[in-house]
């Protein structure tokens, strides 16, 4: 019995560790031929595994001068990962670092 309990504990520990490590992985999305400028990092918190209200889960970017977003990096901070694990995923805060698109013009006439 003790042996199987130990195996179960090890399995659960590995599951938690695996989840934590997977949350460290970040992703990056950029337009082809990027022209990055400025930008900042915003945080979005998802409650109750996404069952909670949509409000607050989508934000707007208003500082890109109508030229759109150049690139975005999605990641979780160490603190957010810890909170996510402790709350069994009930509170999940995702960080989105974005940069704006600076514009891309053809060569003009002097």
């Amino acid at each position: 019995m003790a042996f199987w309990s130990l195996i179960l504990i090890i399995l659960l520990a590995m599951l938690v560790l695996g989840q934590a490590m997977s949350l460290f992985g970040d992703t990056f999305l950029a337009v082809a031929d990027p022209r990055p400028v400025g930008g900042k990092t915003i945080e979005i918190t998802i409650f109750a595994w996404g069952f909670a209200s949509r409000r607050g889960r989508s934000l707007q970017v208003d500082d890109c001068m109508r030229l759109g977003i150049n690139d975005m990096r999605f990641f979780m901070t160490k603190k957010a990962i810890l909170v996510c694990l402790v709350t069994f995923g009930f509170v999940r805060t995702v960080s989105i670092a974005y940069r704006c698109f600076a514009g891309d013009s053809d060569v003009g006439e002097a």
Binding site: D33, V107, G108, E109, A110
Partner: protein
């Protein structure tokens, strides 16, 4: 006038997250709607002039900034205005009537570049009009003006720094809008007047403005010279070299080295990346570029095919280790992981334009990079000293060896007829700093003259800058005083680092 967007008081961190500052205001400059290039230049310069006058009146330090790429703290300003130029990213071609009668240049070779255009944008603009640049740095996300200001270079051994492309500089001080050019005129007086500028035609002042380290005013535009478009064939491989091969490189026997590991011809570009823990026992990473005529039927390479492995910062971005255990092995693994294995001599040729030799850059972790530049003929004598002292000092970064011809600009670090640049790129941990310091001390103790990159970690101060550049430093200071005779004007561009370097 150009648009001035005030983003407010904030903490700002540079691109590589190596320096930060508390800003009184972060200000973005944005092009207005204009009909032609000269109007764009005039409106931006007048906007900058107004900003600088206000800054001078209220004694607010101003730091013009492109991408904020330099890891050294020359791009931060405490309690001042950071004025960003990345949205000033237009390029323009000239017509023959815009050139001075004394100018022998082919008008098609010249390109007018706004201060915020990145290296990548300038490469693209040049290719759009059937031209190429001659050299460039390892990355392409920094502003072209910023790269020139710090003397960025690549490893094209018959060319100098990126600033060698510059034929004239438009810069703004709190009192004046200037075009600074060599004595032999390039731009016509009419064109200069139409950009709202005065002209200074002086070889010494121009040589100072080519590489100004951000201490001669606010650059708003540059006139650059390009070559007819060409392509390069890329050979990259991980292989073992011997100590003797370093001697070949020290003597400039590039074709001999290339014949051994690449093609039997003179490479246009030649670079070696080594693991300092066992440079000859482990594979090192070689890169050769061979010049080829332009062939429009060759499609641009997919992302990453040409550029991989050149940007050592990216190469080691994921190598974050403070452990002494297996340091050499981890480094070797990381080095080879980042390098393509299908660019060898017998692989299908990878040919592309010069603009495709660098990759887009994604923000990565805080990194260390430092370098020393010295007479290439000293490489053989200094190599073991550098590697041993770096390792003994705790250094844990890859060592990259690059080659540069004498570069233009009074403050160009590559000021020997032929130069070797030894780069240390890796994680920003104490051991990287201590290893680099050990190299500096060892070279000084051995009496081997060297200089350091303005944009990288360099531990320089005024005394050392004076010693390294001697008369060129005095000439540079003279040129600065011609452009900004009033000390109060120079103070507008002061930050802690530039004051420490004795440049303001």
């Amino acid at each position: 006038m150009a648009r001035v967007v005030k983003l407010g008081q904030q903490v700002w961190t540079n691109y590589h997250k190596t320096a930060a500052c508390n800003l009184k205001d972060r200000i973005e400059l944005v092009n207005g709607e204009q009909t032609n290039g000269r109007d764009y230049l005039k409106s931006v310069a007048e906007t900058v002039l107004a900003l600088l006058r206000e800054a001078k009146q209220y004694q607010i330090p101003v730091r013009p900034i492109g991408a904020g790429w330099s890891p050294s703290p020359i791009n931060v300003v405490e309690d001042g205005w950071l004025v960003e130029t990345l949205r000033l990213n237009r390029t323009f071609k000239l017509s023959a009537k815009d050139l001075h009668d004394d100018c022998d240049d082919d008008v098609e070779s010249l390109l007018l570049v706004q201060a915020g255009a990145t290296v990548d944008e300038v490469y693209e603009s040049a290719e759009e009009i059937g031209r190429s640049l001659r050299t460039g740095g390892a990355s392409n996300g920094q502003s072209f003006a910023g790269a020139c200001a710090t003397g960025t270079h690549g490893s094209v051994w018959q060319q100098g720094g990126i600033q060698d492309h510059v034929r004239a500089v438009q810069l703004v001080t709190p009192e004046r809008i200037l075009w600074i050019a060599p004595k032999k005129a390039v731009l016509s007086d009419d064109f200069i007047a139409q950009t709202g500028s005065e002209i200074i035609r002086d070889d010494r002042i121009f040589a100072a403005a080519q590489l100004h380290v951000g201490a001669m005013g606010f650059v708003t535009a540059m006139l650059i010279e390009t070559d007819p478009i060409y392509m390069v064939q890329n050979i990259q491989k991980a292989t073992k070299i011997s100590r003797e091969h370093i001697d070949w490189l020290s003597r400039g026997e590039f074709q001999r080295f290339s014949k051994e590991f690449g093609l039997n011809e003179n490479p246009y570009f030649q670079q070696v990346i080594l693991n300092p823990f066992d440079p000859f026992g482990n594979n090192c990473l070689l890169r050769f570029l061979y010049k080829r005529p332009f062939d429009g039927s060759i499609p641009p390479p997919p992302a990453g095919q040409m550029g991989a492995g050149y940007d050592a910062l990216t190469l080691l971005g994921n190598l974050i280790t403070n452990s002494d255990l297996f340091k050499g092995a981890i480094m070797q693994f990381a080095m080879e992981q980042g390098y393509p294995d299908d660019r060898d001599v017998n692989d299908p040729p990878a040919i592309a334009t010069w603009g495709n030799t660098t990759e887009e850059h994604a923000p990565i972790a805080s990194l260390f990079n430092g370098s020393v530049t010295m007479d290439r003929n000293k490489l053989s004598e200094a190599f073991d000293l550098i590697i041993n002292s770096f390792r003994q000092g705790g250094g844990a970064t890859v060592v990259t060896i690059r080659f540069v011809h004498q570069a233009e600009g009074l403050l160009a670090p590559a000021h020997w007829p032929d130069n070797v640049v030894i780069d240390f790129d890796g994680p920003d941990v104490e051991s990287s700093h201590s290893g680099y310091k050990a190299v500096i001390e060892a070279l000084d103790d051995a009496g081997i003259a060297f200089t350091r990159h303005w944009g990288k970690t360099n531990n320089l101060d005024e005394r050392r800058v004076k010693r390294d550049y001697e008369q060129n430093f005095a000439d540079w200071k003279w040129a600065q005083s011609q452009v900004m005779p009033d000390a109060a004007d120079r103070q507008v561009f002061a930050n802690e680092e530039l004051v420490k370097l004795g440049l303001i």
